[in-house]
Amino acid sequence: MLPSPREEELFLRQMVAFAGQLRAAGVEVGTAELLDCLQALQHLSLARRDHFKGALGATLAKSARNREIFDLLFERFFDPLQAREQQTKRLEQQEKLIKQLEEAGEALQFKGEPLQLSDDEKIWYASLPEEGKAGLQRFLKATEEGKKVEASFRPLLETVVRGQLRYWRSRADAPAGEGGAGSKLGAPGLRHLDLKDIREADLPAVEELIARLARQVSSQLVRRQRRLSGAGAVDFRRTLRHNLQFGGCLFKIKYRRKQPRRQQLLFLGDVSASMSRYSTMILQFIYGLQTSVKNLELFVFSDNLEHLTPRLRQGGDPGQIVEQLVRRSKTWGGGTNIASALSTLAGEYASLLNMRTTIIVVSDTRTVTLARALEALDRVKTRVKRILWLNPLPFSEWSCYASVKAFAQRVEMWPCHTLAQLEKIVAGRLLQKNVSGKEVGNEQAYCPGR
């Protein structure tokens, strides 16, 4: 039976609404795609759900990332029953969460007053195994009953409890064995996740993703270098010699190829306690660019500078090596002293600083002796081509820190706390001479003179 005009219109409206939802989720669906989709549906029977979904997928979602978003939205949009089930599940989860918060609030008390813990910490407590909960209870009770226990103990006690919770959480996050329940966000999810929020269970997938992104960016850099180094002037000597075979008729012109000047890339990663996760991952990514950037030197710093490159030359899996090196590094997890790190760089590694050198710094700029750090930066800046500063703090928080403002006035600074941002910055910025404030994930860079 043919559908009535009313049914047809309803169907059309539904398709337009679905396209709207895809657009809202970041999938680029234009009118042309929608028309293709409707045309495709005319060749199929709508009775088969898999055909309907296949036709929509082929015409509306044209990348692997978009396909994942499409799959999620399709189920939600065209299967209200499932959507209702999901909503019920969400409500149940919310109720469970509220219960957990209440339970933790009652259990974690000191002298009748609840401890000042974040909601996340309370939820960790609620999900502890019984032995963990009992251990914490015993500790709180023993402290309360101890001699000369004053109210001023409270902050100390809260710090200890937080430490315990973190310990239990890290155990729960340890890589799951075969069949274990690891978090599976998938590559698109991981690309946009703040690096500090990536769970241990996702690390292998993240390493794989970093290696893949590095390969992609690397090939883009090589391509661009070749294009920039393009054909030069006519090489008369080779042209004449080559065309002798055609009786001297200039049949094929030979050109000189410009030799690209090798650029030196120097990476400085802050591995102080708050920054180590960002630096380790960004360092792995930069290390993966080796094929396109030949002169690559890697350093990490917290209270002083350490040169990693010599150890990396021993070979092996780069991901694991970088991880191990950063953990073994003498400076790992200390406080941050940018002044000391930059002074050591300018003094002991002066030969690496020249007008072909680009320095990439990964740091949130929080350092001791800010004034000295700025002076050291000014000195290094005059000796290199450019300094690119990747700041893992969200752009919205930059104005809260005087150090961010001070550094951003001197160098080109970009917000960088996800792999997607990192990929965009490195691919777009590394070979560019003049930088304007283009967008990186809806955020802008502070650039000198803007």
Binding site: Q39, G54, G57, A58, S63, A64, P204, A205, A211, R226
Partner: protein, 302 residues
């Protein structure tokens, strides 16, 4: 006569291209809508093979354009045969004959490259544009102009319009993001590694003499290895088939961990991956996987 989806499905099965329903559907839509088909997926999942199989199903010529960095119009579309033109000039000069310019720039002196060849074909050909992500963005822009109108302008001759719209299959390994313009003109298909039951069918179709039990065990081991996220280069379908052929040639009728270990070079082609396998899984680990599969009654388990 227009091909139906059922005929296409049977055609793929006849030429030994085993695929999922979604692949058949998308190829069918690309054919009826006369749109290029962009196929993405990991290396070795059968993207190029899809183009070849389609040419066999349609019983038509396969015209292949392999993309690479630096590919330009002269290598993809057409070029004048300068040597031949030069020879003609010299011959005519020695015979003291005046040459008309239009004689020199006639189809006789035109070197057809794949795109022009596809456009000038009398019977609808399959144009396979392989690894389109490897070409430069400038060439990609040129390509989507050709693919939208199926006509090209040759200044000395005029506009050449396609006699029949070719069935175009573009493949990409996602080495770089393709432009929105190109994607807009194409239908999209993402090919993933096949589930074990499909892979068993592929092995049986492509490797003569393979026994049911061996095919199942190969598919099970390969699927297990592909699930290992730490492996950087996962075994492709082509590698699976090479491995199966090698095992048949060695007259093996079933697999065990030791045999996998001895023939690992055919399956894992990165030293780091082989070390990972020997360190974390090993022959015993694989024996366990095979036992579990049999006990769990996996699809096709002997």
């Amino acid at each position: 006569m227009e091909l139906t989806m059922e005929q296409l499905r049977r055609g793929f099965a006849r030429v030994g291209y085993i695929c999922e329903e979604n692949t058949v559907l998308t190829v069918y839509l690309a054919l009826v809508l006369q749109k290029p088909l962009l196929v993405e997926g990991a290396p070795g999942v059968g993207k190029t093979e899809l183009g070849k199989a389609l040419a066999q199903v349609l019983n038509t010529e396969l015209i292949r354009l392999q993309c690479y960095e630096g590919l330009d119009e002269t290598k993809a579309l057409y070029e004048w045969n300068y040597q031949r033109q030069l020879l003609r000039l010299q011959i005519d000069r020695s015979a003291e004959v005046e040459v008309a310019e239009e004689d020199l720039f006639s189809p006789r002196y035109l070197l057809e490259r794949p795109l022009l060849k596809a456009i000038r074909s009398d019977k609808r050909p399959v144009l396979l544009i392989d690894e389109v992500d490897k070409c430069d963005p400038e060439f990609e822009a040129f390509l989507f102009e050709v693919l939208s109108d199926f006509q090209v302008s040759i200044p000395e001759i005029g506009t050449v319009t396609a006699r029949t719209v070719p069935a175009v299959v573009l493949t990409s390994n996602s080495e770089r993001e393709l432009s929105d313009g190109l994607k807009r003109r194409c239908l999209y298909l993402y090919l993933d590694f096949p589930p074990p039951e499909e892979e068993i069918k592929i092995i049986k179709a492509k490797v003569p003499g393979v026994e049911e039990r061996l095919a199942w065990e190969i598919a099970r081991v390969v699927e297990y290895l592909r699930r290992q996220e730490q492996l950087r280069k996962k075994p492709s379908i082509a590698e699976t088939l090479d491995w199966a052929r090698a095992l048949v040639a060695l007259k093996h009728r079933s697999l065990d961990g030791g045999l996998v270990d001895n023939t690992l070079n055919l399956l894992l082609k990165r030293r780091q991956d082989q070390l990972y396998f020997r360190r974390e899984i090993g022959p015993r680990g694989l024996d366990k996987v095979l036992r579990q599969g049999r006990a769990g009654g996996d699809a096709g388990a002997p």
